[in-house]
C-alpha cells in the first residue's frame, strides 16, 4: 500500500471509531466515496477492532507456555550443579551439547555441557558415556577443548562440562584470514599434534571435521567433541526401520574413513583418514567427494572403491595454489587418505612430520600414488543387507589375542590358547599400537555390539544362513570379551552371554539346516562356551558343553567316518575335552581322551599341512599329559614325534613363515620334558640347550629380517626363557641372565597389548624362574622382591578366576617360596605369615591327585612348612614348650613331604630331580629327628646353602 493510502485508511479508521456505532456506516460512505476497496479495507479493519488485543495476548501466552514446557522437556533452563543450561548448541544422535552459564557471586562463565539426550539414557549408554568421560578428562593439550568438570544430573545422567570454544571452523577461518598454503599447513599441524596426543592416550576422535576443529579469535586451533557417545557405526534406533539417509545424521560421512563406513574395526588410522580429508579441504576449499543424498550402498562404493582425486586437480584453484599443492602435498594427502589403513601414515605424528618436511623443502615419505586401486582385502563388493549389518556389528577395536606358548610351565595353556586361536582374531601388526581406549570403554563397546546383534536377531527371522552368521558374530564378540587375557576386564559375564547367544543361534541354524557348515558352527559354539565356562570356574557347565559337542561331533563323524573334516572335528573334540580334563587336574582321564583322539585321527602324518599340524598338536598334548602322569620318557618320545612332523613341514616349505612358527613351537615343546618342567623332566640339560638355541635362532632371524614382525618379537621372550630353562640346573648364573632378558622383552612388548590382557601370569612365572636361579646371599633381597611381585599377580588371578585350580596352586606354591626366602634372610615372622597363607590351600589338593604337578607342589610346600617349624624350634625367642611343639610339627611336615616324593617312586615316575628332592627331604627328616631342640641358631646353616646343589 502506498503511504498516502495507508494514511487515508488510518484517518478514516480513527474517525469512524470516534462516531457512535449507528453513525459509522453513514460516515464511511461519505468518507470513502466511490472507492470500494478503500471502504472494504476500513470496514474489515473496524470489524477486527474491539477485543483490546486479547487475541494477541492469548496467542503469545499460549506459545510462551509451550516454550516453558518444552524447555523442561529439553534440558534448557536445567540447573546442573553451578551451571544453568541456556540453549542447545549441537545435537548428535544421542548426546546433546548445551551452552551453559555459571553465574554465581564471583564468576560469570560460559561453558559447553554435554549430556545424553533425555529419554535415551539407557544404562549401557550411560556407562559408555561415563567411561569415555573418564578418558577425555585425561586429555590436557593446548589444542584440545578442555574438559573442566563432570558429574551426574539428578536423574542419573552423566554430564561433561567442556570449555566453550568460540571459534570458526578451520576451513572458514583460513578463508576469512586469507591464509596462504603454508600458513594453513602450520595450522593443520597443530591439529595433528592434538590428535596424536589423544592417540597416545588411546583415544580415537572418530569425527574429525571442520566444525570440530575450531580456530579461536586469537588464532588458536582447538579440537573439540571427541568420541563421547558417538556411535561407532550407523546407529539403529530400536523399533525403527532405518531410512535411507538417516544414517548420515549420526556420522559425518564425508569425513568418515572406508572402515568406518563399513562398520569395521576402528583404529587410530581412521582419524588419520579424516585428517587427510580435512587437509584436502583446507588446501583446496572443496571436499574430495560428497555423500549428501547418497544411499549407504552408493556411499560405501564411493568411499571404499573410487579412487580419490588429487587435491591439485580440483577445479577453480588459482594457478599459484595449484602449483604449490601439486606434487608433494598431493602425495601427502593421498597417503593419509589411502583406502587401506595399513598404507596410511601410521600415526598423526607421521603425517605431521611429513608436512614439516614439506615445509622445510626436504624429501617426504609419502609414496608415489599408485593408480591401481583394486579391491584390497579391506574392500568387498556385493554385500547383502544382512551381511552388511553383520559387518556393522563386528565392531572390534584392534583387539588381539596373543598366542601364549605357556607350555614350558604347564602344557594346559596350549589348549586354552589353541581353542581361542582357532577362532580368534589374531592380527598383530602395527594395529596393536592403535588398540584403543580404556578397559571400560572396551567393555561398553562390547555391550554396544551385543545390542546391535540383538536388534539384528529380532529382525532376521528364521533364515538359517543369517542365524549362522549371527552365531559367528556373537562368537567373535565373545571371543574378545571372554579371552582370558581380556577377561580381566570383568567382561566375562558379557562374554558368557555372547557365547550363549552364539550357541542358541547355532542350535537354531542347525536344527533348520543341519548341514556341514552349521554343524561346525554349532560345534565351535559349544567349545567356546565350554572354554569360557571352565575359565570362569563353572566346571560342571563346561563339562556339559564339551560333552555335548563331543556327542555332536561323534554323530556327525559316524555319518561319514572317512570324511577327513569330520574325523578332524571329532578328534579335536576329544582333544579339547582332554584339555579340559587336564586343566582340571584329571590327568588320567585326559590321557584317555587324547588316546581316543589318536584312534580317530590316526597316528601318521600325510604331508597335508592342516592335517599334520593337527597331528603335531595332538602329540604335543599327549606329551604334556604323560609328563603330568609321571612318564617323562614317553612324554619325550611324543614330543619328538611332534618335532619330526614340524621339521618335515618346514623342509617342504622352507620359506613359509607359518612353517617356521610351527617349528619354533615344536622346539619349544621339547624343552618341557627335557628340563623345563621341574621334577617332571628327564633332566637332559645338554639336549635342552640345543633345542633352545634352535628356537632362539628362528625368532632372532625373524626379528633380524623384519623388525616389525611382532610375532617374532614377542616370541623372543620365549626363546630367552627356553635358554634360561636349559641352563637352570647346570649353570644357574647364566640362566638368570637369560631370564632377565626374557622379562625385559616381555615388558617391552606388553604396551602393545590391549589394556587388560597384559600377560601377567607369564611375567609372574618369569619372576619366579629368575628368583630360582639367583643363588647366594647377595641376591636374597632381589629374590624376595621378585617372588613378592609374582605373588601379588597370583592373588589377582585367583581372585579373578576362582574356579581354576592352576592359579590357586601357583599361589600356594608362591607363598611357600616366599616363606623359604624370608627364612633365608632370617625374617621368621614373615616366613610364618606366608606359610600360614599357603596352608589354606592344602585341602584343595591331594597327594593322591592324578596330576603329579599337584603332588609335586604339595611336596615342596610341606617341606617349606617343615622349614618354618624347624626354625621356630631352633629360635630362642620362643618358649621351650612352643619350641617342642614346633619340633614335632616340623617332623610331621617333613614326613608328609617325604611321602610325596615316595609317591613318585611308587608311581614309577621318578626323575633325577625328583630323586634329589626326595633325598633332600629324607636328610632333613633325619636331622630333625636326631637333633636336639636346644641346638642354637648359629649352628644352622641357611637352607639355601645346605640344600641346593653347589653352583657358582
Amino acid at each position: 500500500m502506498l503511504g498516502d493510502r495507508w494514511n487515508r485508511i488510518e484517518e478514516i479508521f480513527h474517525a469512524a471509531l470516534e462516531r457512535p456505532l449507528p453513525e459509522r456506516d453513514a460516515y464511511l460512505v461519505h468518507a470513502c466515496g466511490d472507492d470500494r476497496t478503500l471502504r472494504s479495507e476500513v470496514e474489515s479493519l473496524l470489524a477486527n477492532d474491539g477485543d483490546g488485543g486479547a487475541t494477541i495476548d492469548l496467542l503469545v501466552a499460549n506459545d510462551l507456555k509451550d516454550v516453558a514446557r518444552a524447555s523442561s522437556d529439553s534440558d534448557s533452563g536445567l540447573q546442573i550443579g553451578p551451571y544453568r543450561l541456556v540453549r542447545e548448541l549441537d545435537s548428535g544422535g544421542m548426546g546433546v551439547v548445551h551452552l551453559a552459564v555459571r553465574s554465581d557471586d564471583h564468576y560469570f562463565q560460559v561453558v559447553a555441557i554435554k549430556t545424553i539426550r533425555k529419554g535415551l539414557a539407557s544404562p549401557h549408554l550411560v556407562q559408555r558415556f561415563r567411561a569415555e568421560r573418564q578418558i577425555l578428562a585425561t586429555l590436557t593439550h593446548p589444542n584440545i577443548g578442555a574438559i573442566l568438570d563432570g558429574g551426574n544430573i539428578d536423574d542419573g545422567r552423566p554430564y561433561i562440562v567442556m570449555e566453550y570454544v568460540e571459534g570458526q571452523p578451520i576451513t572458514i577461518a583460513a578463508e576469512n584470514r586469507s591464509l596462504s598454503v603454508r600458513q594453513r599447513i602450520e595450522l593443520f599441524r597443530s591439529v595433528c599434534s592434538a590428535v596424536h596426543y589423544a592417540h597416545q592416550k588411546l583415544v580415537i576422535h572418530r569425527d574429525i571435521k571442520p566444525s570440530n576443529v575450531l580456530v579461536t579469535p586469537e588464532g588458536i586451533v582447538k579440537l573439540i567433541d571427541f568420541g563421547v557417545s558417538k556411535p561407532l557405526a550407523p546407529e539403529l534406533i530400536p523399533g525403527q526401520l532405518p531410512r535411507t539417509e538417516s544414517w548420515q545424521r549420526f556420522m559425518t560421512p564425508d569425513y568418515a574413513s572406508p572402515e568406518q563406513i563399513q562398520g569395521r574395526e576402528l583404529t587410530t588410522e581412521a582419524d588419520v583418514y579424516s585428517l587427510g580429508v580435512l587437509l584436502f579441504e583446507l588446501l583446496t576449499d572443496s571436499r574430495p567427494y560428497t555423500l549428501h543424498g547418497l544411499s549407504p550402498a552408493a556411499a560405501e562404493r564411493l568411499v571404499c572403491e573410487e579412487e580419490n582425486p588429487r587435491p591439485s586437480t580440483v577445479p577453480n584453484l588459482t594457478e599459484r595454489i595449484r602449483k604449490e599443492v601439486a606434487g608433494d602435498l598431493d602425495r601427502i594427502v593421498l597417503m593419509a587418505m589411502d583406502k587401506d589403513p595399513s598404507r596410511r601414515y601410521p600415526s598423526a605424528q607421521h603425517l605431521d612430520e611429513d608436512l614439516l618436511r614439506f615445509l622445510q623443502h626436504k624429501p617426504i615419505l609419502a609414496r608415489k600414488s599408485s593408480s591401481l586401486y583394486r579391491l584390497s582385502k579391506f574392500v568387498r563388493r556385493h554385500r547383502t543387507a544382512s551381511m552388511m549389518a553383520c559387518a556393522t556389528v563386528l565392531v572390534l577395536i584392534g583387539s588381539v589375542l596373543f598366542h601364549q606358548w605357556q607350555s614350558r610351565r604347564s602344557d594346559s595353556k596350549l589348549r586354552e590358547v589353541e581353542s581361542l586361536a582357532d577362532s580368534a582374531i589374531f592380527d598383530m601388526t602395527g594395529k596393536l599400537q592403535a588398540s584403543s581406549a580404556s578397559v571400560e570403554t572396551q567393555a561398553a563397546i562390547f555391550r554396544s555390539a551385543l545390542k546391535y546383534l540383538n536388534q539384528l536377531r529380532q529382525s532376521s527371522g528364521d533364515d538359517p544362513r543369517v542365524l549362522l552368521k549371527l552365531s559367528r558374530a556373537y562368537a567373535r564378540v565373545g571371543d574378545l570379551e571372554g579371552s582370558p587375557y581380556v577377561a580381566n576386564l570383568g567382561n566375562s559375564g558379557v562374554a558368557l552371554t555372547s557365547y550363549q547367544e552364539a550357541l542358541r543361534m547355532a542350535v537354531a541354524a542347525h536344527s533348520r539346516l543341519p548341514g556341514d557348515e552349521n554343524t561346525q558352527a554349532l560345534f565351535e559354539a559349544y567349545e567356546r562356551l565350554g572354554a569360557l565356562e571352565f575359565f570362569l570356574g563353572k566346571i560342571e557347565e563346561a563339562h556339559d558343553n564339551y560333552q555335548r559337542s563331543l556327542s555332536l561331533a561323534h554323530d556327525f563323524w559316524k555319518d561319514k567316518p572317512e570324511d577327513p573334516t569330520r574325523k578332524r572335528l571329532l578328534a579335536m573334540s576329544y582333544a579339547r575335552l582332554g584339555d579340559l580334563q587336564l586343566d582340571d587336574l584329571e590327568t588320567d582321564t585326559a590321557l584317555e581322551s587324547f588316546r581316543a583322539a589318536f584312534r580317530i585321527f590316526g597316528t601318521e602324518s600325510n604331508g597335508d599341512e592342516d592335517h599334520d599340524v593337527t597331528l603335531m598338536r595332538l602329540y604335543v598334548r599327549m606329551g604334556g599329559a604323560l609328563m603330568e602322569h609321571g612318564s617323562p620318557q614317553e612324554a619325550l618320545a611324543n614330543r619328538r614325534k611332534a618335532l619330526a612332523i614340524s621339521e618335515a613341514l618346514a623342509q617342504k616349505s622352507p620359506s613359509s613363515n607359518q612353517a617356521q612358527q610351527n617349528l619354533f613351537e615344536a622346539y619349544n615343546f621339547m624343552n618341557g620334558p627335557l628340563v623345563g618342567i621341574e621334577t617332571l623332566s628327564v633332566g637332559d640339560s645338554t639336549q635342552a640347550e640345543i633345542y633352545a638355541r634352535k628356537a632362539l635362532d628362528i625368532v632372532e632371524g625373524m626379528v633380524g629380517r623384519d623388525h616389525s614382525n611382532v610375532w617374532a618379537r614377542s616370541h623372543l621372550a620365549y626363546g630367552y626363557g627356553l635358554m634360561g630353562d636349559a641352563l637352570r640346573l647346570t649353570r644357574p648364573a647364566a640362566a638368570s641372565e637369560w631370564y632377565r632378558k626374557a622379562l625385559l622383552v616381555t615388558k617391552e612388548v606388553a604396551p602393545s597389548y590391549p589394556v587388560g590382557s597384559y600377560p601377567e601370569d607369564w611375567i609372574a612365572e618369569g619372576d619366579e624362574d629368575l628368583a630360582a636361579s639367583l643363588r647366594g646371599r647377595e641376591n636374597a633381597l632381589e629374590r624376595v622382591r621378585l617372588l613378592e611381585d609374582a605373588n601379588s599377580v597370583w592373588q589377582q588371578l585367583v581372585h579373578a578366576s576362582p574356579g581354576k585350580p592352576q592359579y590357586r596352586m601357583s599361589l600356594m606354591r608362591s607363598d611357600c617360596k616366599l616363606s623359604d626366602s624370608e627364612l633365608a634372610v632370617n625374617d621368621l615372622d614373615k616366613a610364618r605369615l606366608y606359610a600360614d597363607s599357603a596352608v589354606r590351600f592344602f585341602d584343595d589338593f591331594k597327594i593322591t591327585s592324578q596330576s603329579l604337578l599337584v603332588v609335586r607342589d604339595l611336596g615342596f610346600c610341606y617341606e617349606s612348612l617343615g622349614n618354618v617349624q624347624r626354625q621356630i624350634s631352633l629360635s630362642p625367642s620362643f618358649s621351650a614348650a612352643r619350641r617342642r611343639a614346633a619340633h614335632t610339627q616340623a617332623l610331621q611336615w617333613f614326613q608328609k613331604s617325604a611321602e610325596v616324593w615316595s609317591e613318585w617312586k611308587r608311581r614309577d615316575a621318578s626323575t633325577p630331580e625328583s630323586e634329589i628332592e626326595r633325598h633332600k627331604v629324607e636328610r632333613l627328616l633325619r636331622q630333625v629327628k636326631s637333633s636336639d631342640h636346644r641346638e642354637t641358631v648359629s649352628n644352622t646353616l641357611s637352607k639355601e646353602q645346605r640344600l641346593l646343589p653347589r653352583s657358582n
Binding site: K65, A146, I147, I237
Partner: protein, 198 residues
C-alpha cells in the same frame, strides 16, 4: 576437577547489565549484542521457573517475565527510566525471538524434518491450524513493511509489557498517539491472522 584457566569468564558485577544498558544509551551498539543473550537466557529460565511454580493451567504472561527479568538483571538505582525503557524494548524483542525460535523448532518437527514421524492426532491437526507466534511474527513483519511504528508498538506492548508511557518514550510519540497506533495495529493483525487461517 582442576583444569586450565576458566575460559569465557566475565567478571560479574551487579552492574553488568546495568552498565551495558548505560553503554547502549550512550550509543554503543555492541552493548546491545551482549545484552541479548543474557536476557534471552533469563527469560527462558524465568518462564520455566514460573511454569513449575504455578498452576499449569493458567497462562503465563510474557510481560510478567520481562518485568521480573528486569528486576533480576538490572540495578535500578543506577538507571534512569529511559534506560529501563530501553531494557524493556530489548527484552520485548528478545522475548519475541524466544517464542519464534521455539515455534520454528516445533513446527519443523511436526512436518517430519526429524527422524521420528509421529502420527498426527486430530488434536494435533487442530493445533496446527491455530495461529501461533510464527504467524504473529509473520504478520508483524508484514505490518512493519506497511507501518513500522505500529509494529514496534505492538511488540513493545505484547512482548515487552510496556505501558503506553514507556512505549511513547521509546518511540518518541505522545501517549494518545500510542493508543491510536496500538488500536489500528491490533485490528490489522487480527485481520491478518484470521485471513491466514482461511
Amino acid at each position: 576437577m582442576s583444569g586450565p584457566t576458566p575460559v569465557n569468564v566475565i567478571r560479574k558485577d551487579p552492574g553488568n547489565v546495568t552498565s551495558l544498558l548505560l553503554d547502549w544509551s550512550k550509543g554503543n551498539q555492541s552493548a546491545l549484542e551482549c545484552l541479548v543473550p543474557i536476557i534471552y537466557e533469563e527469560l527462558l529460565r524465568l518462564a520455566r521457573a514460573r511454569l513449575s511454580r504455578e498452576n499449569r493451567q493458567c497462562t503465563l504472561q510474557p510481560t510478567a517475565l520481562v518485568h521480573e527479568s528486569y528486576l533480576r538483571l538490572a540495578d535500578e538505582t543506577k538507571l534512569q527510566w529511559q534506560n529501563r525503557a530501553h531494557f524493556y524494548a530489548i527484552a520485548a524483542n528478545t522475548m519475541r525471538r524466544v517464542l519464534i525460535d521455539y515455534a520454528r523448532k516445533r513446527n519443523a518437527e511436526k512436518r517430519g524434518g526429524g527422524m521420528i514421524i509421529t502420527l498426527q492426532t486430530g488434536m494435533d491437526f487442530a493445533q496446527e491450524r491455530a495461529p501461533d507466534c510464527l504467524a504473529l511474527d509473520e504478520a508483524l513483519k508484514r505490518l512493519a513493511r506497511v507501518d513500522e511504528r505500529k509494529s514496534r508498538a505492538i511488540e513493545l506492548k505484547y512482548f515487552g509489557g510496556m505501558t503506553t508511557e514507556e512505549i511513547g518514550s521509546v518511540l518518541g510519540i505522545a501517549v494518545a498517539t500510542v493508543g491510536r497506533e496500538l488500536r489500528l495495529g491490533q485490528a490489522w493483525l487480527r485481520r491478518e491472522l484470521s485471513r491466514a487461517q482461511e
